[in-house]
Subunit: 344 residues, 2 copies
């Protein structure tokens, strides 16, 4: 029954996020969360902001966060756009920069086709190569959105490849760097050279703050102004006082972020070898997950779940025999390996 | 320069929110914030939620908040939709329920025409009566959004009038109750009787939590499902862990909310008389602000500002000679009155 629904609401197929189970004592390797807590400085800043000033609206420009992000990336605050999670930043970029056709890979973040549909765009779906790398040549010209490293493959493009795409584009190129801090090359240096590249970042993975909902965009000031125009036509105050305080503190604590992302990258590389030895076809990942092929993937996922370990599998035909396994702590990864040894 | 902007971004005229000055020691009566702090239970709940679990995504269904709101309003959790501020709830309602023409008054919340424009709708602007009341007959039939009490007038419609509009509608009627807790009649009882009414509420005014960004919708489950479809096509996790904890605690502390809204309503009624005696044409308000006409309004606002008191004036021609004054504490209102006595 869809009585009273708009045509748009009736027509869309929403994105389906990974499960957030309410069961306790599971090993949750299904939604690419960080196994380590956020910076203690971020938690302290949030607690300090939990005061009577909550009666007042937050700063609509999120000034303290834009300053912290600008300092981190060596750009100006006018190059930063703040959002209620990088999903919101991406949704606003889709509205601010795309009018018609937007290119993205067949296997990538499955929210891209949903935004294209919600905002009346025409997706041009580019199949990945057989080895799951992005066919750079097919992305030359037009507008596109590319996750780098790509998800759920984990495979990165080089900065030279990204630059070639930005140079050849007729419009805006959106680079979604949700997983970039785990060994990818960031496209932020291109922001100063090109007026048509938008880099999207999030605190959900590298900063251990998925529960805070904070993402941001880095781009030429003209593009940031377009994103502001959409934001101010939708929701003037998207970032609450607590998230502004926590995000600014987390961005400023680079030493903490570098430490936990390095540990996760090392864990990934170690268990990539171990999972390969167990018979998985593991793609070369520069993210905080491994995309592991196995003819018996569906059954393995079900058996892992019985043992309290949750991983993710996608329905799309090309990747049905693969599991996306988030990198946990070494202890969690050992538990995974032990369970897999039982199952396989 | 709007190079690389989408047609949509280039065409829109964003909403302009009231100023959030960074000056200290001002009396801020310009954006309808609550002069009293939020419930101490809400602040406590936020501090408790500021922990290592922030590394995990929040509950995408905001279950604890939906349960608290449902208990407060005597409905079921399936009748509640949670949003990052009531602006987001309204923006999602515009997308979920309106396809073509949407009616609203010429003088009302100035974000309505912005959402209509962003989402490609045709606004049918109904002029308020000369006494700034809503002409109910003109709202019979079609779809509409009505702020009740209206803003910036503060004048309410009765529940019977709202029911007449809902009954006669061809589609969905959205009732924006941002200011309802200061003496208005809520349309929530209509949700059980009619499949086509959506009530929008916020914690920003009555609960003293403008800085937390939390709003919600109450409606028949079918309409909530439509809003969920839009939300899950835009941003799966709009409410962070801190806002979920704080909002649930604030909604549960009805005694605290009732107390501060009663104090504010009493202050409003007292200073309505005093401002009338000072020569203002004060509209009969059931909100947390007074809309005060004076031939010298523009100058009075400037003079108040010099004295550290900020109020709001709107550009629209019919209301240029009026100031919207948020109800502060009795001490703040006394300071306002003293300043006005100097100025006038």
């Amino acid at each position: 029954m869809k009585e009273f629904w708009s045509k748009k609401a009736a027509a869309i197929t929403p994105y389906v996020a990974g499960e957030q189970p309410k069961i306790k004592n599971i090993i949750k390797l299904n939604t690419n969360e960080n196994p380590y807590p956020p910076s203690p400085k971020a938690i302290e800043a949030i607690k300090e902001a939990a005061n009577d000033a909550l009666r007042l609206y937050p700063d609509p420009q999120s000034t303290i966060v834009r300053e912290a992000a600008a300092a981190l990336h060596g750009v100006d605050p006018e190059n930063i756009f703040c959002a209620n999670g990088s999903d919101e930043a991406l949704a606003i970029a889709f509205q601010a920069f795309f009018d018609d056709v937007v290119k993205f890979p067949d296997i990538t973040y499955s929210f891209y086709p949903v935004w294209a549909s919600l905002y009346g765009l025409v997706p041009e779906i580019i199949p990945l190569n057989d080895d799951f790398t992005i066919p750079v040549k097919s992305f030359l010209g037009g507008c596109c959105v590319i996750a780098n490293p790509n998800a759920p493959t984990g495979i990165p493009l080089s900065l030279d490849e990204i630059e070639a795409i930005v140079k050849a584009a007729d419009g805006v190129v959106v680079i979604d760097e949700a997983y970039c801090d785990f060994g990818g090359e960031s496209a932020v240096p291109l922001v100063k050279k090109y007026p048509n590249v938008v880099v999207i970042r999030t605190l959900s993975k590298s900063h251990g703050l998925a529960g805070l909902r904070f993402g941001y965009a880095i781009a030429d000031a003209n593009l940031i102004t377009a994103m502001d125009a959409i934001k101010d036509s939708f929701n003037s105050y998207p970032i609450d006082r607590l998230a502004q305080a926590g995000a600014a503190a987390a961005l400023a604590d680079k030493a903490y972020t570098d430490n936990i992302t390095n540990i996760i990258s090392e864990t990934r590389d170690k268990y990539s070898v171990i999972l390969t030895e167990l018979g998985f076809d593991v793609l070369p990942s520069k993210s905080n997950f491994l995309f592991c092929g196995h003819p018996d993937a569906e059954n393995i996922m079900a058996e892992l779940r019985k043992r309290g370990i949750i991983v993710r599998r996608f329905g799309s035909e090309r990747i049905q025999d693969r599991l996306r396994i988030t990198i946990g702590t070494p202890e969690q990864m050992d538990a995974l390996v032990n369970a897999l040894k039982e199952i396989i």
